[in-house]
Symmetry: C2
Subunit: 139 residues, 2 copies
DNA sequence: ATGCACCCTGTAGCCGCTACAGGGTCAAGG
DNA sequence: CCTTGACCCTGTAGCGGCTACAGGGTGCAT
């Protein structure tokens, strides 16, 4: 008797719905079932789900996690592929940060110019209406 | 005769599909139709869609854009609400940047430790398997 | 009259969940 | 023994913001 779905959810900071979703999509292997047809998760499932949640927390998408989990299951392989996946994700995160920083600058600029008053004179709405008033390349 | 959907799309850097989607959801008002049942967009539609795309480019969600567009249509209103929406979005962007910066640090750390070799000794997969190896609070 | 670029509607899919509805299981308390 | 309540099951649909068809119509040039 291992873990029921609720216990596994609590142990990993997820929900039963999410766990069932991972099972449906094949990310988490199908567990055994009890007589009453309840899922019966093993310690291995717990490890795997912790891995998945950790990777999700770092922003890896499901396809990447699938690859990473397959690699983790096969210790003799070269880790170059793991490196590639992680580096690629790091690049994507860095690009996203840069893009958001540009948005932040533009938004700060907009908000700082708002002096209250009516919509007619509102800089926020003016800027939204006219891209040329933007100081940065943001999109 | 105003703009057909393809011309409007080119003028605003979108696609006909997206424009029809905005119309369906009521974000963009329904345009007139030609005899052949083609959409016939006016200059006002062009302005509105430019506004929408600009705000989307700045990361506002559709609900916010709906509010902002309604405000822009009514120049006598107080712009405090526009300010609140923009400031709230700015806050959200700043929080997102901070979160991504934490992810970036953790990912850099992971990737920097990978020295090649087999999966068995790969730091990337080790760290993913054991959250306690993380140096930062990332999720 | 034929080809081609464009337009139309309607529906389904993407990601990663989340939220039901409508039922079954199981242990504790009366 | 029966009920209550917490938990579990399956299946389906929804979120946001598009995107991608299929299957058909329009309009202009050759």
């Amino acid at each position: 008797m291992g873990l029921k779905i609720g216990a596994l959810a609590r142990a990993t900071g997820t929900t039963p719905e999410t766990i069932r979703y991972y099972e449906r999509t094949g990310l988490l292997p199908k567990p055994a079932r009890t007589d009453g047809n309840y899922r019966d998760f093993s310690a291995e499932h717990l490890r795997r789900l912790s891995f998945i949640r950790h990777a999700r927390g770092l922003g890896f998408d499901i396809a990447d996690i699938r690859s990473l989990a397959a690699l983790a299951d096969d210790p003799d392989q070269d880790c170059a592929q793991a490196d590639r996946i992680a580096s690629g994700h790091l690049d994507a995160v860095e690009r996203k940060i840069e893009q958001l920083a540009r948005l932040r600058n533009e938004l700060r600029h907009m908000v700082a110019q708002c002096r209250g008053g009516s919509v007619a004179t509102c800089r926020i709405l003016h800027v939204l209406s006219d891209h040329d008033l933007c100081t940065e390349e943001h999109s």
